[in-house]
């Protein structure tokens, strides 16, 4: 299912004007200018588009709230920080079709009435940066329409937390990328205190293909609650790791094994578990992987969500407890340290997971406290993968199963 990723037989070079036209972005931009801001926002809302960066918040709702603000200064920001563990779909998308997300950014700016836009790109993506610089120099949206728009590219410098929307705003402003307390949300007070729309790369690319077609076309794929497609980054023990575009609701097993997707379990060939959604994701057992469908509603019974679209696959030689410890190490390393439950909690989790036996009761308490008392999503979701592991004894080390139960 290809919408955001161009078909394999696409011949126009990614950054050419032909590509801008071939993909329908010229038409999408012209259509947006003709429809007017109000109608564009109605389309985005009616399409049921939700954020693809992890939180799945309704996109149209954000735009409406910024558009109706009386503040004459507004901003839009493309979040291309992509630092979530196991996530590389925005890199693939920007490399294979750079115009899509940029067309979406221009449409977003027009819809909410912003004349300045920012693209915040992870500093480790120098290859993508070259493409984006070239794209911004060409700026095909500046020719077709009369809407004045300045787009600036900001290069991050290696900080996972800078992808959190309010930390990202601080980073652009030249401050330490520490999250702000919400509310106020960026839609009310964002960059330099002005209403700001922040969207993930993939969300904006969806806006562009939506405006290149129409609402009915957009909703024809996916589920009622989650229309459209989703980019999934599949890595680890599969035959063909990579980024695949799926209709929302596709069985996870199809993504893992179908020849047009990841093509089967790799490594030993026997699946142990999948970590779905990134470091703040959920472990699914092999049986669950055969039953799960890839949309947030269908994943609820598993306590899981699509998150960033990361699918990390582990064969039966992998000790999942070791992965849990690494994930805890990731969070201990990346916590900004601003609030106590997260700063101390991420360290404690790592310490406890480094011990030979796990005190499950204590781990659950600690995880609960972090979830309830941390300022931002990092601390709130840091225990998620661990808790999902504790809930699935079949993933525990065979030898220590007894021990852990009684510890």
């Amino acid at each position: 299912m290809r919408r955001l990723l161009p078909a394999d037989d696409t011949v126009s070079p990614p950054l050419s004007r032909e590509r801008w036209r071939d993909r329908g972005y010229h038409e999408a931009w012209e259509r947006a200018l003709t429809l007017g801001p109000q109608t564009v926002i109605e389309w985005v809302t009616a399409a049921g588009l939700t954020g693809r960066g992890g939180a799945a918040f309704p996109t149209g709702q954000k735009w409406a709230s910024v558009a109706q603000s009386a503040d004459p200064v507004k901003y839009v920001v493309m979040n291309a920080d992509e630092s979530e563990l196991g996530t590389f779909k925005d890199r693939a998308l920007l490399t294979r079709d750079p115009w899509g997300a940029l067309a979406g950014l221009a449409i977003a700016a027009f819809a909410v009435g912003a004349h300045e836009a920012y693209v915040y790109l992870r500093g480790e993506y120098a290859d993508v940066e070259r493409l984006l610089e070239e794209a911004l120099a060409l700026a095909p949206w500046a020719e077709a329409g009369s809407y004045p728009l300045a787009v600036r590219l900001i290069r991050g410098a290696g900080a996972y937390i800078a992808g959190e929307e309010t930390a990202l705003l601080n980073s652009i402003e030249g401050r330490r990328p520490e999250p702000r307390v919400k509310p106020p949300f960026p839609t009310a007070r964002g960059l330099w205190g002005h209403p700001t729309v922040i969207q993930n790369v993939e969300t904006l690319a969806n806006v562009a293909v939506l405006l290149a077609h129409d609402v009915a076309w957009f909703r024809a794929v996916g589920t009622e609650a989650a229309p459209g497609t989703k980019l999934m980054a599949v890595s680890g023990h599969v035959a063909r790791p990579g980024v695949y575009e799926i209709p929302m609701g596709l069985p996870l097993w199809t993504l893992l094994t179908a020849p047009e997707y990841a093509g089967g379990i790799g490594g030993s060939g026997r699946l142990r578990a999948v970590l779905l959604g990134g470091a703040a994701g959920t472990f699914l057992t092999a049986d669950e992987c055969r039953a799960a469908r890839l949309d947030n509603l269908a994943l609820q019974p598993f306590g899981a969500s699509l998150g960033s679209g990361a699918v990390m696959v582990f064969d039966d030689t992998v000790e999942i407890r070791q992965v849990v410890r690494q994930v805890a190490g990731f969070f201990a390393e990346e916590s900004c340290g601003q609030c106590v439950p997260c700063r101390i909690g991420t360290r404690r989790l790592l310490e406890q997971l480094s011990a030979s036996t796990l005190d499950i009761e204590r781990l659950r308490d600690l995880g609960g406290a972090m979830r309830d008392a941390s300022i931002c999503g990092l601390g709130q979701t840091a225990p998620q993968a661990l808790l999902s592991y504790l809930d699935r004894p079949s993933l525990w080390p065979r030898t220590s199963k007894e021990e852990e139960c009684h510890a």
């Binding site: 996530t87 410098a157 030249g174 990328p177 970590l275 994930v327």
Partner: protein, 143 residues
């Protein structure tokens, strides 16, 4: 490699607006010129943009890609995160550490888990990375 001095930093940053929002781009410029952000350089950046030196340091030291100590044109980082560690990342890191005098850093996920293990040499990404690949990039970098 020669480090910038306050005067050269002033000219390096001359076209940036004198405001706090120029801080991250300014730090990148100095870091790419020097391979390090020294205290003196940070003070000069602060001077140029009218931001207190302590705050410049606070921002610079937050980011993993900036080095405020060892100077190096192209620092080597190997991703030892969840996926890469299944595909020989630790072995690559150890091998590089055994051969190099300069530090080799372990990194969290570099966003290239589709071709593990991933590494960065300076700003150039290698995926999959190998000893030979890292050597080849380092050879191309001016000392």
């Amino acid at each position: 490699m020669k480090e910038s001095n306050p005067a050269s930093i002033q000219s390096l940053l001359a076209d940036l607006p004198k405001e706090r929002a120029s801080l991250l781009p300014a730090l990148w410029r100095v870091f790419e010129a020097d391979g390090v952000l020294t205290r003196e350089a940070l003070a000069a950046v602060g001077e140029a943009l009218d931001v207190p030196a302590a705050e410049v340091y606070g921002v610079a030291s937050f980011y993993a890609l900036f080095h405020v100590e060892a100077q190096e044109r192209a620092p080597v980082r190997v991703c030892t995160d969840v996926v890469c560690s299944l595909f020989g990342a630790q072995e690559l890191l150890n091998a590089l550490r055994g051969r190099r005098e300069k530090p080799v850093y372990a990194a969290t996920c570099l966003g290239r888990c589709d071709a593990p293990p991933a590494a960065l040499v300076g700003r150039q990404a290698l995926a999959p990375a190998s000893l030979e690949g890292v050597d080849a990039v380092l050879k191309g970098v001016q000392p």
